[in-house]
């Protein structure tokens, strides 16, 4: 099998997509956002509960979509719980670089390693949007309270 395919659909990704973490709605979310990829019809909804200290107390997602978009959402929620909003944005910046095959600079080694399972997407330009959907939606949720993005 093609190496880039193997990297794209590595076990961690498939596991996230088959058994998504933090799946389902969140009661008492302080922020929600909806994302939609009009090309494939995929959707994701992000729920966030942000404390007064600017820390993400809880985060979850709902949606349907391809393995990449589901795994990305699952991974993201897994990594963001407990972080500050500022940290979330830094992570997102790094992630966006990573999936475009650029250097993820500025992330600490552990975060980089965890995000790195998605790096295989960079060999599949048509799939980058699948990987970033959840992140963009998370960002617009934080910015707009309730937002729509694509």
């Amino acid at each position: 099998m093609d190496d880039s395919l193997r990297e794209l659909y590595q076990e961690v990704i498939l596991d996230h997509s088959r058994h998504p973490r933090h799946f389902g709605p969140l009661d008492h979310a302080s922020h929600t956002g909806e994302g939609h990829n009009p090309l494939c019809g995929d959707r994701v909804k992000i729920y966030l509960s942000v404390g007064d200290d600017g820390r993400i107390k809880d985060i979850s997602f709902e949606g349907r979509g391809c393995a990449i978009s589901q795994a990305s959402a699952s991974l993201m929620t897994d990594m963001l719980a407990g972080r500050t909003v500022a940290e979330a944005e830094t992570l997102m910046g790094g992630f966006l670089h990573l999936v475009k095959g650029e250097d993820a600079g500025g992330l600490d080694a552990d975060d980089r390693d965890r995000l790195n399972v998605m790096a295989g997407v960079s060999a599949f330009p048509m799939r980058v949007k699948c990987a970033t959907l959840a992140w963009h939606t998370m960002k617009s949720a934080l910015e707009g309270g309730v937002a729509k993005t694509e």
Partner: protein, 413 residues
């Protein structure tokens, strides 16, 4: 299954040599281009016709007295005649060149139907329409108060003429129906639909963007009021489509776009319009593309079209048989009247993941909603994977698809 490859000598030999692109490997694998329903590849002679025209006969049309302009005008009008012949229209004046099939449908919506819509008037359409045969009617709903009446298809994707007839009421102003679904492959019972609509005094628009590729069209025999084609699916260039409309309808239509070529007289305070088809061709038309489209239609009609169709359908049934053992695969659309399109859902595999894996095997299929969201809703799916066949498709293409599906199942399943 692989053993069947060389089984029988086919009645129709796919003219692979005419399509250079088909011989180019993708990701190091032979290309199995199974995305012709999205857009067909172009045979060498279409590209040559355009190039020859551009390098020896090109000028703007209609407005010029000089030689090149006269020749270019002649070629452009010959292309119109070629389309007329292809569709069986009475007169070349009933053929309007547009930018694609979508514009042709919009032209009918905005120039013919919009001025005739009173709030509450109805447009009948089917759930298997392409967005291009949905959105223009939604505009009339949003802007003019039209009501959309949706005709369902059966679970196998069949469309019944009776279901369409039933949807037609006293306020129905138009029936808009596809000749062939770009997802299900379903071929509509056009004659019965048109007869039923006409019996109630309702005109019918046929979206032939897919249908005209695979079926022989005779708009007069069908008695279609409007029939739409798009160049790039007919092995022709992008940038051109055409509307056939009965002359009486064209005469009753106001222009949609204003500009050069479509006027009779313009003064500061007044304007009068040219007769059809010029009235609907504002500005410089797709001249080079018209030459390419004519070459494409000549290319198609030079084949025994029944043999082409039989060839395509034999690939469809070859594929259908091959995937039958895959109990994790569900066909979407399996009507008895069906063209060479295979859409399916694969359990546990999202269409995009599947298409990505197939692509690495050189197999080009389409994944998504295929611009047919209401149909996706009807079948309770978000998207499907679609393989579509053309005259150049082969059993090897099908085999690559089937092998790719098995691989994908291993990776994702």
């Amino acid at each position: 299954m692989m053993a069947q490859t060389k089984a029988t000598s086919p009645a129709f030999v796919p003219p692979r040599g005419d399509f250079e692109i088909l011989a180019r490997p993708v990701h190091g694998k032979p290309l199995a281009y199974l995305d012709s329903a999205a857009s067909a590849q172009k045979p060498r002679r279409v590209l040559e016709a355009m190039e020859a025209f551009a390098t020896s006969e090109y000028a703007n049309v209609h407005r010029g007295v000089h030689h090149l302009s006269a020749v270019a005008t002649q070629r452009y009008e010959e292309a119109r005649e070629t389309v007329r012949r292809f569709l069986g229209a009475r007169s070349a004046d009933e053929i309007v060149f547009t930018r694609n099939g979508t514009e042709a449908i919009n032209l009918v919506a905005s120039s013919w139907l919009a001025p005739r819509i009173e709030p509450g008037d109805e447009i009948v359409l089917t759930v298997m329409e392409h967005h291009s045969n949905i959105v223009p009617w939604h505009f009339l709903r949003e802007r003019d108060g039209a009501v959309l009446r949706w005709v369902d298809v059966a679970d196998d994707g069949s469309l019944g003429a009776a279901a369409v007839a039933e949807a037609i009421g006293p306020r129905t102003k138009l029936v808009a129906v596809t000749h062939m679904s770009n997802v299900l492959g379903t071929v509509s019972p056009l004659k019965a639909i048109i007869a039923a609509a006409h019996a109630r005094g309702v005109p019918v628009l046929v979206d032939g963007c897919q249908g005209a590729v695979h079926e022989v069209v005779d708009v007069r025999e069908l008695d279609a009021d409007f029939y739409v084609i798009t160049g790039h699916k007919l092995y022709g260039p992008t940038g051109i489509g055409a509307l056939y409309a009965k002359m009486a309808h064209l005469k009753a239509m106001r222009p949609m776009l204003g500009g050069g070529e479509m006027i009779r007289e313009v003064t500061r305070d007044k304007i009068t319009y040219a007769d059809p088809p010029a009235r609907f061709e504002a500005g410089t038309p797709p001249i080079i593309e018209s030459v390419g489209l004519a070459a494409a239609l000549d290319y198609i009609t030079a084949f025994d079209r029944a043999a082409v169709k039989a060839h395509e359908l034999s690939l469809l049934s070859y594929a259908r048989d091959a995937v039958r053992p895959f109990n994790w695969l569900r066909l979407v659309g399996d009507a008895p009247a069906k063209g060479a399109i295979l859409s399916f859902e694969a359990e546990g595999m999202h269409a995009h993941d599947l298409a990505t894996i197939l692509d690495r095997e050189g197999v080009a299929v389409r994944a998504g909603h295929h611009c047919a969201q209401p149909l996706m809703d009807r079948f309770g799916v978000v998207s499907t994977t679609r393989a579509s066949f053309a005259l150049y498709s082969t059993r090897e293409d099908v085999e690559a698809l089937v092998a790719g599906l098995e691989k994908a199942r291993k990776i994702l399943g």
